[in-house]
Amino acid sequence: MPPERTAAPVVRMAGIEKGFGSVLANREASLEVGAGEIHALVGENGAGKSTLMRILSGMFTPDAGTVEVFGRDVTGWSTAEAIAAGVGMVHQHFMLVPTLTVAENVALGSEPTRGMLLDRDRARRDVEERSRTSGLAVDATRPVSALSVGEAQRVEILKTLHRGAKVLILDEPTAVLSPPEVQELWGVLRGLRDGGATVILITHRLDEVMEISDNITVMRAGRTVDHIRTADTTPAHIARSMVGREVALAAEADVYRPPARGPEARPVLEVRDLVVSAHGRPRAVDGVSFEVRPGEILGIAGVEGNGQTELIEAIAGLTLPTSGAIVLNGADVTESHVRARGDAGISHIPEDRHRRGLLMDYSVAENLVLGQQHRFQKGMALDRERIARNASEQVRAYDIRPTDPALPARALSGGNQQKIVVAREMMRDFHLLLAAQPTRGVDVGAVEQIHDRLRQARDAGKAILLVSAELNEVLALADRVAVMYAGRFAVVMPREQASEDVLGPYMTGAQREAA
């Protein structure tokens, strides 16, 4: 229990239990947060942080345990009741109406009216006023569809404050922000805290925890395992608490290691003047040219939504480009089909394993041949024996748990799911690996393992194109760093010149140079 707590806690959760099917997401989870503090809720992915917060915000009803807010027992309340009591949650995936303006979105659900009509002026004035007082800069009259991800997040926070939130819950808010935007967000949160509000921040990034929080609750495997004052602890201690054993901290072990020998001259992948239209944007990728050579990792940094997804999908063959060329080992593959590209030597770790990378209802064994199912045929039938043999080999090699390859992918944790994807794409006979957000939502131990596999592949002479929203990941892996902004490469530089300070301005579009 952290000392120097003066008043009674604002939020007190005790003995919380919550199961989904046969999986227990929370068991004996507890949390205490006081007024005027920024509280970090940390834990590996699948530790039950989001579930606990959804119980607090009324989205889920706990199977057991009690929830008290401002001293009142509110166990099992609804989201409407939570909002009315001043508890608001900003989700990882925004819940905004894209066709409405910022003001309309903020007012939605508590619209000011004049007679029977919506009082748009008042809605706009309210939002502008709140934007000024909170420091969340937004243009109230713009439609949400025209906003960047960072701006949309500010609107979400504004909306929550507008509904009178005194307890603000933020779920992994920095995943979609550039470094300067993160600093801006910290400023806003500190302002809210100093005004007496309570902020609960779900995160798995220790640097953020140390920087912004006052107190920390650590969760592991659904339980609350530690409760610490930030001033009294170290990142190493938090990490040990999260994982339950001694771990090499990302900052210490996971540093950039240059390849033993330089890349060969002849490129594996050449991309020339590529233009891709997708998701309603005619030039999501707006004329990009680059090469990736054997034995090097080209890392693309940048805030998400600047064309990285479309670029990778075009190279993988999932979207046909509007113009430009994609050349693999000297052969033009711009028009060829996904499977043909795979057979020609492209491996692809997709950014969204739940949507693309895995069939959640298929077994681990079946998922371990996804995309290569045509290589596991015996006549028309699938060669179940080889699929099973392959599965037990990969499960062992990548330490996938639980080890039963007959389980559906859905039953595994995020980290183990991602290991399936990585194992499968590494077992191809590939020349080029497209690694999009390869460690997203993966726990600390698995991150290390996946990073090591990528470096090994590079040292074995593979060409790797890495896309990551985590600047640290790009800096830990890439031999050359590009920053993508508004569909273009804002800059490409050797690893030696790159750092967070150098890349930051390119990521926000404040700076760009012809690449």
Partner: protein
């Protein structure tokens, strides 16, 4: 200062129970619970209906069972109806596995029956059985398959929604067949064609003599086996189910989603088309306008209650065939429309209520 509240071994979210045993139990629960609950719900509604007609539920259910499973003729009729419903149920289930809702089984069934009859009329009278029957089966599958492939192709090429297209095609196909028979092929004063000259399939003999049950039931059972093997053992089945579950993941895996749609709809139509053989080759030995009589639509219910599983479809077909035949048996004491109400309740219960019921049972079990 930090205080460790709890010491736990590092583990992913824990699953309750042993994996293999609980997986099997879960699968059985998944497969059996919904239909059983649905049938129980239907029985309660049935009781109330029967009481409202002033009859005793026990007596009416006994009558229903005696008229279906209680005597050879009735059971033969049940088997006959099961045959058609199995094939239309398989057709709908296979399409649903690919994520497509085939409402067109009715038209595909009629087209299949018509093509089988047409070939049976064209073949010379002396064509050996061993040649004529397979040819007629192929004709039926082709007839239904072509009608099914059209919505598949339109969806793959233009994104036309298969529900709309299959509904429209039902009208077009049924009207076209009606015109062909009425204007060109009918026996005067009737709406059916002359007897086919080749390709007839024998009725089941022995105790079933007199009922419509015939050897086409083996085609239906073989089709169920083949669909099971296709879906769960072949590479194309792997691709097809992937498209149905997560089209984006299938696309990532190099599956041509449009191609799977076309193939699935063609095979679905072919299965429904084969259902037409039951009436044409096995029962009447001619094509009659309107013979499908809703069996294509009932296939949707069969697939739903059978949980899109070929084995489940066979049992669901047997159940719906029993209800349908039973309706005739109880007609003397209550309106036979009552069984249609019961069918509706079963479908509704499976579609809506059952997942809720199951969730309720689960939470109860854990709290107890």
């Amino acid at each position: 200062m930090s205080t460790a509240v709890q010491q736990t071994p590092p583990a992913a979210p824990e699953t309750t129970g042993g994996t293999a045993a609980s997986a099997l139990r879960g699968r059985l629960e998944e497969a059996l619970l919904p239909p059983i609950v649905a049938i129980l719900a239907a029985m309660v509604v049935g009781d109330l209906l029967i009481l409202s007609f002033g009859q005793s539920p026990g007596a009416v259910y006994r009558l229903l069972l005696e008229g279906t499973w209680g005597n050879a003729y009735g059971f033969g009729q049940v088997l006959y109806k099961t045959t058609t419903l199995t094939l239309t149920g398989l057709a709908v289930a296979l399409a649903l596995r690919a994520g497509l809702f085939n409402i067109g089984a009715e038209g595909q069934l009629a087209a299949g029956g018509f093509m089988a009859a047409l070939l049976g009329l064209l073949l010379p009278a002396g064509t050996p059985w061993l040649l004529a029957v397979p040819l007629c089966l192929v004709a039926a599958a082709l007839g239904g398959g072509v009608v099914g492939a059209v919505p598949g192709a339109l969806k793959a090429r233009f994104g036309a929604h298969e529900v709309i297209v299959t509904i429209m095609l039902n009208f077009i196909v049924l009207a076209l067949l009606n015109w062909l028979v009425a204007a060109h092929l009918h026996v005067p004063e009737t709406l059916h064609t002359p007897d086919i000259r080749a390709g007839g399939v024998a009725r089941l003999g022995g105790i079933f003599t007199g009922s419509a049950a015939n050897w086409v039931i083996l085609v239906a059972l073989a089709a169920a086996g083949a669909v099971w093997f296709y879906l769960f053992r072949t590479r194309r089945g792997y691709d097809l189910r992937a498209v149905g579950l997560q089209p984006d993941a299938a696309e990532y895996a190099g599956v041509r989603v449009g191609g799977v749609w076309m193939r699935a709809m063609a095979v679905s139509g072919a299965l429904a088309g084969l259902g037409g053989v039951n009436f044409v080759l096995g029962y009447k030995h001619y094509y009659e306008d309107g013979f499908s009589g809703g069996s294509g639509f009932l296939g949707i219910a069969v697939a739903l209650v059978g949980r899109n599983d070929p084995v489940g479809v066979v049992f669901a077909a047997l159940f719906f065939a029993t209800l349908s035949q039973g309706g005739l048996a109880i007609n003397a004491v209550v309106p036979k429309q009552m069984v249609e109400v019961l069918q509706g309740v079963v479908i509704l219960a499976v579609a809506i209520a059952v997942p809720e019921v199951r969730r309720l049972l689960r939470t109860r079990a854990r709290r107890a």
